[in-house]
Symmetry: C2
Subunit: 338 residues, 2 copies
DNA sequence: ACTGTTTATGTTATCGTTACCCCGACTATT
DNA sequence: AATAGTCGGGGTAACGATAACATAAACAGT
């Protein structure tokens, strides 16, 4: 058991007689070195248990081959799926992924960007949670390539991949209208986020097309929804019973509502229809599937990686924005009103 | 908008007239510098938007203040809870966390350790998934401090935190025996993992105490369980009906079983009792709670961090092993046999 | 006035790697 | 035979920070 510290290029150099420089090139598989020399050096390095020091490499070359993903909630199925896909896509392109989680705390968001820059990551995949320009400005100021995911930020022109939330809201609206519903309850998501606003707007567009006024939608604000979910106590939110269909911002919210409805003895979809967004598949088959709008997380993740890599290659490209289509998946939680 | 690259100590030095060294010490809040100078320098640095380069710092000082967590499945609720707790505990101690996911792929496991070393992390929190000495040896050979979590590896003497799986199995067994059950079905977890073996052993110990032989337990091997879960097709595994209670290795498996039982028209706990391990709380209230053995993830995570930090401070400490107590939580999925 | 100690800062040498430029020995061309 | 162009590889100086030592000034004590 050797007591020495980590093996370095210098050690390998001493061992096999080539200059450090040459060892380095062999490790990087530089084609200008003859294959025989390369293989000989690599064999020696392997035998000695050499592990390259990424930090030194990054410091010198200016490239870390690491992409940071800044996300606020790893618990969420939606993000887990995306993380997997991103990891896969990035690994294929020769990058490693670094997951930074900001735990719903606004101050920590800037902290995470700070960390990412400090670690010299090559780029950032950013899920904006707060509708906050500061974080974005911080990345711009530090010339850090980044792509916004899932949401856009008002007044910011930046590379962005998201799904067509407005169209999603529209599809949900048209679906319910088509079934004959005329009075709705909308359980809001995070306030002032673009997804929340767009979905709402699209929903109202579908209603307007059918001549149904915006007054027919009772909106439960996010604060109330959030508190209700925390305390498993959504009952009051679902009163009064002046609606026949519920539109929920996300499947997670919808499951809470579903539970409450069950406790109240109201059947879905017989007594009330329920439609939401995400179409998560939890892997737990006990959960009933929900009729909801599918956001194609995998595609969003993949497109995000593609745009970021593209940006890295061509820093002066004009702004890239990609909006992915959505579709409705009917799993039987909606029906014509009683 | 300055076109220049990142601000360095040198830039701050030029700006305010002190030597680079002095700037560095001001940034590290070295008390040997007069408070006035420190504050002046820090103000300038702040104004210039200076962000320290962790890589350079780590390269020179040999300390990264980063702990890697190597885990195989971020989707899993069990790990998500632990990750949160670890992040919190480490952040408090001045460390950052780096999450490395090995995606159930054995080869990638060594790759992840490689990456961690290459990034000069200060230590590793390792969830051994495969019963594989190689990975451990790799860390030892590279003198990387680490703590094993959740499981121990046969023949390895190393710092380790886990819950008392044997006792957990015993509690489950005693509970079912106490209700009057005598014939059991055991849905296995990953084969040859210490948790699987210990739980099984503990269960059999409870049976033996009551004079019930090991033959009364029909064991469904992990391969079959896993395949059944993939295809949502566990029906055949639960036949023939020669048992009155099911012991499941994890809640996740238990939910799959629960779903299958529901489809088969068998009621829990009236027709069959169900008990498992983990006691996950998914945050989705629609899911029924399961009677299961609680592993106190938060405590395991916290103890893991504590042991690792301790090891970093005292490299020559004897091996530390911590086994946390378990308890049974009755949520009503067990009852006396019909 | 001399020495010793403290205070406040500057100098130098790395950490491990890669970028850039260089050189000697061949081979190929004029 | 002289010139130019490969091939195979070496030498040196960074990247941005910190450790370890050095120094200049100020002050105290005898």
């Amino acid at each position: 058991m050797p007591r020495r510290a980590r093996v370095t290029l210098k050690d390998v150099s001493n061992e096999c007689g080539y200059a450090i420089n040459t060892i380095s090139r062999a490790m990087r598989d530089d084609k200008k070195l003859p294959a025989a020399t390369r293989e000989k050096i690599r064999a020696t390095a392997r035998r000695m248990g050499y592990i390259p020091n990424s930090l030194a490499s990054t410091l010198r070359s200016g490239r870390s081959h690491i992409i940071a993903v800044i996300v606020n909630d790893v618990h969420n199925q939606h993000f887990c799926v995306m993380l997997s896909k991103m990891d896969e896509a990035l690994r294929q392109a020769g990058y490693n992924i670094m997951i930074l989680c900001m735990q719903l705390d606004e101050a920590l968001g800037e902290q995470m960007i700070h960390t990412a820059i400090s670690q010299s990551v090559d780029g950032i995949l950013y899920f904006p949670y707060h509708n906050n320009r500061t974080h974005i400005d911080y990345m711009v100021k530090n010339r850090m390539p980044f792509v916004l995911l899932d949401r856009w930020i008002q007044g910011i022109v930046a590379d962005c991949v998201r799904c067509d939330d407005e169209q999603g809201g529209y599809l949900a609206g048209r679906h319910l209208i088509g079934l004959g519903h005329r009075r709705f309850l909308f359980l809001s998501g995070v306030l002032a986020s673009s997804s929340q606003l767009d979905r709402h707007r699209g929903f109202l567009r579908a209603l307007a097309e059918a001549g149904v006024s915006a007054d027919s939608v009772r909106v439960v604000p996010w604060e109330a929804v959030s508190e209700g979910m925390m305390n498993e106590h959504m009952g009051p939110l679902l009163e009064p019973l002046d609606y026949t269909a519920i539109l929920s911002f996300s499947d997670e919210i919808a499951y809470h509502a579903l539970n409450t409805l069950r406790q109240q003895g109201r059947a879905v979809p017989e007594d009330v229809s329920l439609i939401s967004f995400d179409h998560i598949r939890s892997g737990i088959p006990y959960l009933p599937r929900l009729t909801s709008i599918y956001a194609a997380e995998g595609d969003v993740a993949q497109a995000g990686v593609r745009l970021l890599l593209n940006r890295l290659k061509h820093p002066d490209l004009p702004t890239q924005v990609e909006i992915l289509p959505v579709a409705i998946y009917d799993e039987g939680t909606t029906a014509p009103p009683a």
